[in-house]
């Protein structure tokens, strides 16, 4: 286990700030009807970015839920590009280009966890170094897929990291209605694997925990379940009204523990950050976003895309439907 260096922490902070800034802009653009539904990352930055920085993009896979993309800069600028396409409802949003080891967003909760186990297992079968890290929420942990995948990972000793992002809410459902377990980390006992509870607002702690889990996995000592506790600072999505159910005082308290404030303070104390850096990064974040959005808007889309990539080659029936769709047929 190596604690992240200050340089690394500064990099992490940059990614966190960029994510937060872009999320804010996207929220506003959605309100103006310019982009699609958004699930804000606010409050999750230390966990998502901290975890991503503990991984090796060349070898390690990231298997996200849906709240992570803005926090995955470390895996390359293509993530943002594809996320904008995705947000605008363009099918190319699901195509993260080779060789980036990130899967597209998963909408069906927890289904991605078996995929991560399969990837990790597959890497061992191919004698490739590397781990797979699956993000999933507190709510998603109630699905059978989480347990079945965790149990299999334990049996196989697969190099997988199951990272439960406990933001206290699943839409309107608070964690105490989600489980009576002492913690989500405690569920590791069901799989016979280590369960680690970490402060998800502390990027350094998350980095540490993932780094350690990764070392374990690479050493052939199997999977780890990590729970990062934090607080969802925004709405579930732009379609949600959290004032119906989030107690104002809880949110207030959580805001005081904002992961960005904490890491910024640490860096400022060490002279590694100042208002200038802050402003420049925010400007850069928005420029990056605007550019990605512009490109996404300009991405062409042929009607035939509707039918592409369902099969490697069209079945005869699909070929007939393609003719119907593109007017090539009388039918």
């Amino acid at each position: 286990m190596t604690a992240p260096s200050d340089a690394r922490l500064r990099d992490i902070f940059v990614d966190m700030l960029i994510a937060r800034t872009q999320a804010g802009r996207l929220w506003n653009l959605q309100r103006q009807g310019q982009v699609g539904t958004v699930a804000p990352i606010d409050g999750h930055e230390a966990t998502i970015v901290g975890a991503a920085h503990a991984l090796d993009p060349e070898h390690d896979w990231v298997v996200p839920q849906y709240r992570e993309p803005l926090g995955l800069r470390r895996y390359g600028p293509e993530i943002l590009e594809r996320f904008m396409l995705y947000n605008l409802g363009h099918p190319a949003g699901g195509h993260i280009p080779e060789p980036i080891r990130v899967l597209p967003n998963q909408i069906a909760l927890a289904t991605q966890i078996p995929h991560a186990v399969g990837i990790a297992w597959g890497m061992t079968l191919r004698d490739e170094p590397g781990v797979a890290l699956a993000f999933f929420g507190d709510g998603s942990s109630s699905e059978g897929d989480f347990y079945e995948a965790g149990n299999l990972a334990g049996v196989l000793g697969a190099p997988v990291i199951m990272l439960c992002v406990n933001n206290q809410w699943a839409i309107s459902t608070p964690v105490h209605l989600q489980t009576a377990a002492d913690s989500f980390a405690a569920k590791a006992a069901a799989f016979g694997i280590p369960g680690v509870l970490v402060d998800g607002n502390d990027a350094s702690a998350v980095y540490d925990a993932v780094d350690e889990a990764r070392s374990r996995a690479l050493a052939g000592r199997g999977p780890t379940l990590i729970e990062a506790t934090l607080y969802r600072l925004g709405a579930h999505t732009t379609a949600d009204d959290p004032t119906r159910y989030v107690p104002a005082e809880d949110l207030e308290a959580a805001r005081r523990d904002d992961p960005l404030l904490r890491l910024r303070g640490y860096l400022e104390d060490r002279g590694l950050w100042d208002d200038g850096a802050q402003e420049a990064t925010e400007v850069e974040a928005l420029e990056l976003l605007d550019r990605a959005l512009d490109r996404a808007r300009a991405e062409p889309l042929a009607p035939g895309s509707l039918l592409d990539h369902c099969y490697a080659t069209d079945t005869p029936r699909l070929a007939r439907q393609r003719a119907d769709l593109t007017g090539g047929s009388e039918r």
């Binding site: 109630s142 119906r244 159910y245």
Partner: protein, 337 residues
């Protein structure tokens, strides 16, 4: 619910579909204290579409229950609740996630009566929104009714109007058999109309002539009825007489009404949002062949989604049948010699 105009007892109120559903849930919980609601975000939040708004406040959190995110245990628990003598009304937040519960729905809920020779009464209602046109993420819009219709033991209600949303939901909750009650997302706020105040029950298994016509009949269910009616109205301007038959329930299927309408017209179009292959429209065509082959003057034409997964937002309008595609199909059937 607010924003509704009523012309008093015995009269009707102008409601959206989601309002009609909400009112019916209120009324049925009032009527029968065995009715319990369970689902994700149904209590405090009133459902992600507000279908269950106000219920937890009125009936308490023992009867309106926010569940952990597990569709399988939501469905599975209804079996136990029914055995214990309750009348569970469960919500699957989106029909696409019923796949997570398929083993409980198809293997358990649907078979409880058959397996136990009616020792237990599966008075279970499973509500779920589905259907396109509202730019949802993956798996929120998929039309799976053709798959469910192949599962014996389930009944399937798919209202197309606010009136039927009330009448069929009341019937579903009172049914001694499990009913999958499917609510079109586009209809929640996009469909509104007069709904009878007070007791209003529409029996399962009775189709509705949404339009009468004698040149051709369009057979549809759920939101496609709306589109078919628009197509019929447009073509009426051209002097064509297009009937629209709203199936209302796929199981039981009103074979008599289908037979009557198709034999009368000799020509039929079937509309569905599901992929073409093995969708419920194929069953309708096969049923027509069984019942009215000799009356057919032209092949029955299906209008369907394509044989690909329900697509992302920018491709949605290409995928979902619309008025234009229905009109084109009608013309094809009419032109067919």
């Amino acid at each position: 619910m607010s924003g509704t105009a009523s012309d008093g007892p015995g009269g009707t109120s102008d409601l959206t579909m989601v309002q009609a559903i909400n009112e019916t849930l209120h009324a049925e919980m009032e009527r029968d204290e065995r009715v319990v609601l369970l689902g994700q975000d149904v209590a405090r939040n009133g459902g992600v579409f507000r279908a269950t708004e106000g219920l937890v406040e009125k009936f308490g959190d023992r009867r309106v229950v926010d569940m952990p995110i597990s569709e399988a245990v939501i469905a599975g628990a209804t079996v136990g609740l029914a055995i214990a003598g309750l009348v569970p009304v469960a919500e699957i937040q989106f029909l696409g996630f019923s796949y997570q519960a398929m083993h409980q729905l198809a293997g358990q809920v649907a078979r409880l009566r058959y397996r136990t020779r009616s020792r237990f009464e599966p008075a279970i209602t499973i509500r779920a929104p589905f259907g396109g046109g509202v730019r949802t993420p993956e798996l929120h819009s998929d039309s799976l009714e053709g798959q469910f219709a192949n599962i014996p033991g389930l009944k399937i209600a798919m209202p197309a109007t606010a009136d039927d949303a009330k009448g069929l939901l009341a019937a579903s909750i009172r049914e001694p058999d499990p009913v999958l009650f499917l609510e079109p997302l586009r209809g929640y706020r996009g469909i509104r109309g007069p709904v009878p105040d007070g007791e209003h029950v529409v029996p399962l298994g009775v189709a509705r002539a949404a339009r009468r016509g004698h040149d051709v009949v369009v057979i549809a269910w759920s939101y496609q009825v709306e589109l078919a009616c628009r197509a019929a109205d447009t073509l009426r301007g051209e002097g064509l007489s297009v009937g629209v038959l709203d199936l209302r329930t796929l199981v039981p299927l009103d074979v008599e009404a289908i037979t009557e309408a198709v034999c009368h017209c000799g020509r039929a179009v079937v509309v569905q949002e599901s992929p073409e292959t093995s969708g419920f429209a194929s069953e309708i065509v096969a049923t027509i062949v069984d019942e009215c082959f000799w009356s057919l003057e032209a092949p029955v034409v299906r209008v369907s989604g394509y044989d690909v997964p329900y697509p992302v937002g920018r491709l949605e309008d290409l995928y979902v049948p619309d008025e234009a595609r229905i009109i084109a199909a009608i013309r094809r059937v009419l032109d067919s010699a």
